[in-house]
Amino acid sequence: MTDYEVVIGLETHIQLNTKTKIFCACKADSWDDEPNTNICPVCTGLPGVLPVLNKAVVEKGVLLAKAMHSDIRMRSFFDRKNYFYPDLPKGYQISQYDLSLASGGYLDIPMPEGYTRRVSIHKLHMEEDAGKTKNAGNLRLIDFNRCGVPLVEMVTGPDLRSANEAAQYLIRLRQLLRWLGISEADMEKGHLRCDANVSIRPKGSDQLFTKTEIKNVNSIDNVKNAIEHEVERQIREVEAGNRVHAWTLDWDEEKNELRKMRSKETEADYRYFREPDLLPLDLTQAWLDEILADFPELPLERKSRFISEYKLPEYDADILTGERNLSDYFETAVQQYAGDPKKVSNYLMNDVLRMLNESGKTANQLKLTPAYLAEILKMVDAGQINTSTGKSLLEKVESSGRSPKSIVETEGLGLVSDDSAIRAVAEKIVAASPKEVETFRAGKETLIGWFTGQVMREMRGKADPKLATQILLELLKK
């Protein structure tokens, strides 16, 4: 049997999180709204209206282009893409065709197996979304709320080589979009939509064979699943001596299968031409500088820096840079603590992450601030509290918002480092354990742990264990 190589390119539509639509001042996000409540003459294409471009859409588009290492065009154009569809009231979509906001670029995808896949970006442009249609018997119901919602369409080259790589691309893209603060990137809500172009070829060939396009997949797991199904189908067809046809396939989530859709309209049928209602978009250097002034360190760069600067294991660094708030939180806590960064990482990975998952909060919303976390770590280091008190303090600070120090004081959680108090208990234990004292003095010095344990128990864990051990040794070696 021939060995096949899988060739995948992804077309993503990214819904930008601006307040208003791309060409009018209607609210952009209609997720919780009734049908046809966020629309105006512009987004419904009534006669005599003109689109006016939303500045924030351009700014967010520029941030994405920069993150993709694309060349940003100082002058770009909008074009009309003409097609007839009930959810498109104007009969055309305003998009960008040949001279879009940016060209070229790439995204590096670190794979869990250890290699990095560089995915080239073929297209990056701004456009408006269409409305939503819903089946109602043999009629369709139309909600225009989504008309004019700003999108960036981004198309990759045929560079992905497995369903897994496609899934990782989407995971990294979602991370990046949230990191840049330009999209909520929630696939279930349609903020990030993905079509996959899939073909196979004999291993070693560099030709591109007929591809199919998979549409309507609304989660990363489903993208992976659908691609795997399609690759298997194409291999079966080719092995049986059949051709792969350029079908458009629809993923049926419930039946876990692909269905054939309409034959693909060719590009020429869209009859693109320059949008006469909009002027060319000119970026000035000053505006570009302003947009990029606060351009953040990107997740993968930050991850490598965490590894080199803080000596974190790769696993920790990957999780701590999964989300921008969390990585900022970590870094602030490390600076405040000024101790071993790995200790901060341990508290975050074991306790703070669980806290975030359970509460649905992001790191910047915690009452347990990085400064409070650092304070707890310092108290543990200084022997003022023990580790388990430290851990229990995390929850207490989070629920009360009080500082760790004040909780330790009012609840009496501090370790007793008063020499005389510990000495009194130690003397009592030594006096009450003649047998153990004898064994110890006969040479079994490991028994010191047992003595310390007794003191700790007597003092309900609040003795400074180092000091207790020291006093006990003094008494036993008399």
Partner: protein, 98 residues
């Protein structure tokens, strides 16, 4: 500039129009003469002129990202011949039932 019947059928298909044979012939003639008229522009030598998308003064007109009051659903739907659940109701027009 004479369109073929196949070209007329293709254009009708893109607009989801069902044309009779007489209409196809009628539109073939009308569209052909419109195209022929527009084709006169091809006689102008534009070799030295860069592609021009707009003749307006060059400046980007942009809008701040501030929400304004939308139309009420009643206004939006007042001219819709058919509606249901505050939505427009339309017949199915696409070949695959969409």
């Amino acid at each position: 500039m004479q369109l073929t019947i196949q070209e007329v059928e293709h254009i009708a298909e893109l607009a989801k129009l069902d044309l009779s044979d007489e209409e196809k012939e009628q539109y073939r003639e009308q569209l052909s003469s419109i195209l022929a008229y527009a084709a006169m522009l091809q006689n102008v030598d534009t070799g030295d002129i860069p592609p021009t998308a707009s003749v307006l003064p060059e400046r980007s007109v942009l809008r701040e990202d501030v929400v304004q009051e939308p139309l009420s659903p009643e206004t939006v739907l007042q001219n819709a011949p058919h509606q249901k659940e505050q939505q427009f109701k339309v017949p199915i027009v696409m070949e695959n039932g969409q």
